[in-house]
Symmetry: C2
Subunit: 383 residues, 2 copies
Amino acid sequence: MTLHFTQPEFERRKGRLLVEMAERKLDGLLMFQQESMYWLTGYDTFGFCFFQSLWLGADGRLALLTRSADLRQAQHTSLIEDIRIWTDRADATPQQQLRDMVAGLGGSGARIGVEYESYGLTAAAGKKLDAAFEGFATLEDASRLVDRLRAVKSPAEIIYVRQAGKLALSAREAAIATVGPDVDEGEVLAAMQGAIFQGGGDYPANEFIIGSGADALLCRYKSGRRKLDGEDQITLEWAGAYRRYHAAMMETVIVGPPRDRHLELFAAAKQALEACAHAMIPGKTAGDVFAAHAHVMDGHGLSAHRLAACGYSLGAKFTPSWMDPPMFYEANPWVLEPGMVLFAHMILMDSETETAMCLGRTFLIGVNGNECLTEAPLDLIVN
Amino acid sequence: MTLHFTQPEFERRKGRLLVEMAERKLDGLLMFQQESMYWLTGYDTFGFCFFQSLWLGADGRLALLTRSADLRQAQHTSLIEDIRIWTDRADATPQQQLRDMVAGLGGSGARIGVEYESYGLTAAAGKKLDAAFEGFATLEDASRLVDRLRAVKSPAEIIYVRQAGKLALSAREAAIATVGPDVDEGEVLAAMQGAIFQGGGDYPANEFIIGSGADALLCRYKSGRRKLDGEDQITLEWAGAYRRYHAAMMETVIVGPPRDRHLELFAAAKQALEACAHAMIPGKTAGDVFAAHAHVMDGHGLSAHRLAACGYSLGAKFTPSWMDPPMFYEANPWVLEPGMVLFAHMILMDSETETAMCLGRTFLIGVNGNECLTEAPLDLIVN
């Protein structure tokens, strides 16, 4: 077992989850989010690409149903002792095997929470799950139960988040040292991701965003690299990841002299990020942070160039995305609390002049305010 | 538009898909697999982490519903012209917006295929989809429709697969040059992934597998790196990825003198891989390849140490996994055809003696036989 947290830490997490389950009168919980399994037991895998589920009973018992390729993975990385295996066959029925497992653990007639909102439970598998449990137990959606608990980090988790922040900064240094005229984007990506691996870090839960020229206006990764021109712009969004915990950053780096439009957009992005930092305090909502962003952007006449969201929570995430709830979008009522780790990104994309300008930092919410975990000067980077 | 294929290539693909849809009497198809969208239109994103869907009508019309962050992504990477946006709100109902979009395209009362088996359509979103389309149209599962077409690669695709094979070999060289006593696994990972990025390649659809010591017995990535001992074993599974197309390899590299058990397991793995290569010909099934593997392994008395699957198809895949159907498991009736790209991995994990031995190569199925796309000596690597 290579557990990244102590046994008492895992016991505390399970205790908090059992309290929540009791409040919702759940006799058990079927988890499908890899994030929930990692948080509760340490189980670390991308095996959620196939059907698997972790059961937690109100009695505190844990049991995992997965495939043979993940048997040792669960044994080596988690505290789960009861591991059952289903085998690939043309007529495999793992959902029925899951029902039988739950039956053996006393779940007949129970009221069971299910993480329906999960990449580990496709719509097709969800239908089979509902069919297998029909008449056996009552299933109800409990997708946000563990998410809510995960959103507030413990002191032990914050140690890893801080390490992720350091890795993000080392990737930033690698980027600044690499970007320049005639440099291939692939070199930049190799330098950034290499710095993180060499520092003991992990693959990010989604690809780093890297795009230059007209594609600096994209905020997703895409295949196909190009070389930077003598006058260019490159948008980078990346995260240090350590023990799966993420700390993200975003910058648009200018090659050669910046255009006036770059300077205008940068001034707005910086002011908006500072406004968001002021709004990220306990008691404010995720919607308040978005409003702070939108107020600045719209004041600069940039409402057509900003996105409908400006950040989100970060944590121990698996593919396909490092974005955790809550997200900063209009009127999101989720209240911020101490211990939350939040990424605010100011994304400005002006398609008419093909100008990009992005700026993002990760913050830890404290009792009275917040602390930037990826502290770097808020100056336009010109290489 | 940065399309990686010509317009006629995309037209041929759409033509093949429309024929399949007509045979199944489908008036339209709602795609949720990013792989399908990329194959049909070039659309390249990890935006499938949120709700989005691509519609193809029997009349050949395409329309995409996605979020604002993916508007330019679709414009820059795909040939989709009709792009609709849904906006995050606490009460957002993108599934109803999708129904309205389909209604506007003449889909009322239609018989519509849906990719229910998709990471892009969680069970929760699937329920909302069914509810939104209730009484409006008839939805039926069409998850494997595009998968079947994608499994057989065109000449244009094979050019990229070959490039992926070269990148896989460059990562292998980087690994062999790096692995040794006192070397940190993070250095190995940085060298391998760096070679692929520097060669213009992509992030893989799942993390490279890297584990040493007792964790050489794992066949998934996990967080947490260690330094190699003077006598050690390290299991590596990786893929070159180019334009999202994958070519995978697997090796267990020995540091210091190999143990007798390593030699025994290597002999079996090599023999089994060769048996699989003989079975990978047109007309044989995926189940036949598995049987060839199992026959050799079981003949060596290793049935307790092998897995219940020994490979799968490869293609242009997105996270969380590069594994495509068909998979090599017992009695899988999927018939192999020329143009398929298949990865065969021989995985032997002996928990009693803590010995790992893995060997994997990628093959292109031809008219009469196959060609190894990641050709490297089948010798035990001792560093």
